[in-house]
């Protein structure tokens, strides 16, 4: 088992004829993801990396039964593409696009809710269920099948830690990069709940960063609802206030959203916070040993 994507995922790539869309379609197909369709208006009938292209998500869904979409469209058109997928009946939308205006995300939120569409991102690397499906731009070779759930607001920091886990023989059920934007789709608590309910996941690694209070909410959720151990890391302890640290959402504003607050919340919830990424496998091993 796993969460969100698996062997049954039928993926449609929105923006498949663009440079990134084409490149990553090739990589996802190579990994074994069932990429059934691409969308690029005006290019229906063409194929990209052996995948048929349609004019609309609606046409793609009708012809192929696609249930998941990934989008590589420019930020200015991302909200439109998310809504198109949602209205066409897609159940999970993964938005890779970086730089989507906040108001656009606020406007799509109630419609996604109404249609029952789940969203990952925007400004995220996507997700992978090792051995089953890659829906994103993550480097497939560092992942390994296993029992650890993984959630992160970051991209390369995720790869850094996953690589350490894989080298320490901790494979992963599903690894989800939720993205670095302030207003995004599924967030820590949504995914913690999915991992808690996934029988194959035995523990979760959570990588947070400065900005907002999603980590504090996750800490509260873990304390109240989780039975599985969680190990965390928070990036940005040395970040100055009022500055956006690369990610649109990574900013300490009016003194709140600091790493210290987040670490304190996790400690209070009994979640062990690693001092540096290299410490994570060891903490995980300890936590799992305690369970036995």
């Amino acid at each position: 088992m796993s969460i969100l994507v698996n062997k049954d995922t039928k993926l449609v790539v929105q923006g498949i004829t663009g440079r990134d869309g084409k490149f990553h379609t090739g990589r996802m197909t190579e990994y074994g993801t069932n990429v059934v369709a691409g969308v690029s208006p005006g290019k229906e009938g063409e194929t990209v990396e052996g995948v048929p292209v349609f004019n609309s998500v609606e046409n793609a869904v009708k012809a192929t039964g696609a249930n998941t979409s990934i989008l590589f469209v420019p930020a200015a058109y991302a909200a439109d593409a998310i809504l198109e997928a949602s209205e066409a009946g897609i159940k999970l939308v993964v938005a890779i696009s970086e730089g989507v205006p906040i108001q656009d995300m606020i406007r799509v939120t109630p419609i996604l809710k109404q249609n029952g569409t789940l969203l990952i991102g925007p400004n995220c690397p996507g997700l992978i269920t090792p051995g089953e499906a890659l829906v994103g731009i993550l480097p497939a070779m560092i992942f390994k099948e296993g029992n650890i759930g993984f959630i992160s607001r970051s991209g390369t920091l995720t790869y850094e830690v996953v690589n350490l886990l894989t080298l320490s023989d901790f494979g992963q059920t599903t690894v989800v990069g939720i993205g670095g934007d302030p207003v995004a789709g599924l967030y820590f608590i949504d995914l913690l709940e999915l991992f808690e309910n996934d029988p194959d996941t035995i523990a979760v690694v959570l990588i947070g960063e400065i900005g907002g209070d999603a980590e504090e909410q996750a800490a509260q959720y873990i304390a109240e609802k989780m039975t599985k151990p969680v190990v965390a890391f928070i990036a940005g302890q040395t970040a100055p206030p009022g500055k956006r640290m690369g990610h649109a959402g990574a900013i300490i504003s009016s003194g709140s959203g600091t790493a210290a607050e987040k670490i304190a919340a996790f400690n209070k919830a009994g979640v062990h916070v690693a001092k540096e990424p290299a410490e994570i496998p060891e903490l995980l091993r300890k936590k799992l040993a305690e369970l036995k």
Binding site: R27, A75, A76, G99, P101, I102, Q103, M105, I106, R107, T109, P110, I111, I137, L138, P139, M141, I142, S152, R153, S154, G155, T156, L157, T158, Y159, E160, N163, G180, P182, V183, I207, E209, I210, G212, D213, A214, Q217, F233, A235, G236, Q237, T238, A239, P240, K243, R244, M245, G246, H247, A248, G249, A250, S254, G255, A259, K275, E276, P277, A278
Partner: protein, 377 residues
Amino acid sequence: MKIHEYQARQIFRDYGIPVPADVLCYTVREVEKAAKELNGMVVIKAQVLTGGRGKAGGVKLARNVEEAINAGKQILGMDIKGLTVEKVLVTRAADIEKEFYVGLINDRNTKSVILMASAEGGVEIEEVAKTNPEKIIKFQINPLTGLLDYQTRNIALKLFGNAIHAQKAASILTKLYKLFIETDSTLAEINPLILTTDNEVLAIDGKMNFDDNALFRQPKILAMREPDEEEVQEIAAHEKGLSYIKLDGNIGCMVNGAGLAMATMDMIKLYGGSPANFLDIGGSSNPQKVIDAMNILLGDKNVKSVMINIFGGITRCDDVARGLIKALEIIITDVPIVVRLSGTNAEEGLAILKETGLPTVSSMSEAAKKAIELSKR
């Protein structure tokens, strides 16, 4: 992106929110002229992009032209939280009966715009939130309907009590929401919104921030940008595809990815060093980016050593290594550099770099320790 109070007041006026008359002044002579024109009690307000101007002595009341000149002399050129005051706003003083707070923000948790209002105006709202949170009305706006008339009416009535005052305030709330949405704002606050002794409702101070991701469709807002020295550097780096923030330390960092870049800074601190910057070069092995990044790092004279931390994902480490070598051929410097490569094809990448004699390591902690050691030489 932030703007000055005088700019926020102009946006308020453009949307029909009543704001007292004001004049922007760069010199004491201009202050004198403005005070004469406005003819009566005026307030002189420092225009700097930071909060706490009042506490720092950057806002002064003047009863006559002479006092205005003195206030102008004191405020122009003063330092507020490291920023020099280059201009002041001279505005007609209002007779305040009562002060209120109204503001709009984007809320991450509810994924909506939230209207905040309080009868405790004129002080920092964060302070009220800490001490008397029950005194703040928070209202979540449905993005599909926007802020409706009955909603602004009810909120204004709760705040003002009096129906005539509330009607004026409700109209201001409607306008504030309209400008918030139309300018892709992330914060639009009027603090204080005042009731005057002659029953007018006026905005006498305003603060606005904007979504950087939406500036592409907000040319008028973008034209208002007045970056300070640090921001000029940050914007220049951004135009080269780099994300750069200067810090106070002496170890320069160059990293691929924002999260990893933050973790790198933290690691340097953890091992007893002090990072000179945040720098994310993004995900490519393009030598030009490395050259641009090195130029920025070495432009900071505090930098005593540089830690390059790359995790190769889709970008392979051997390509990154070749890019680094090309870049380092062009950049001549005596600042010592340590390179850490990990991930896809890391061994090949490290082997390529070894030939150049650069110190190379494969773990982040080793790299941080090495960079600290090099910075002390």
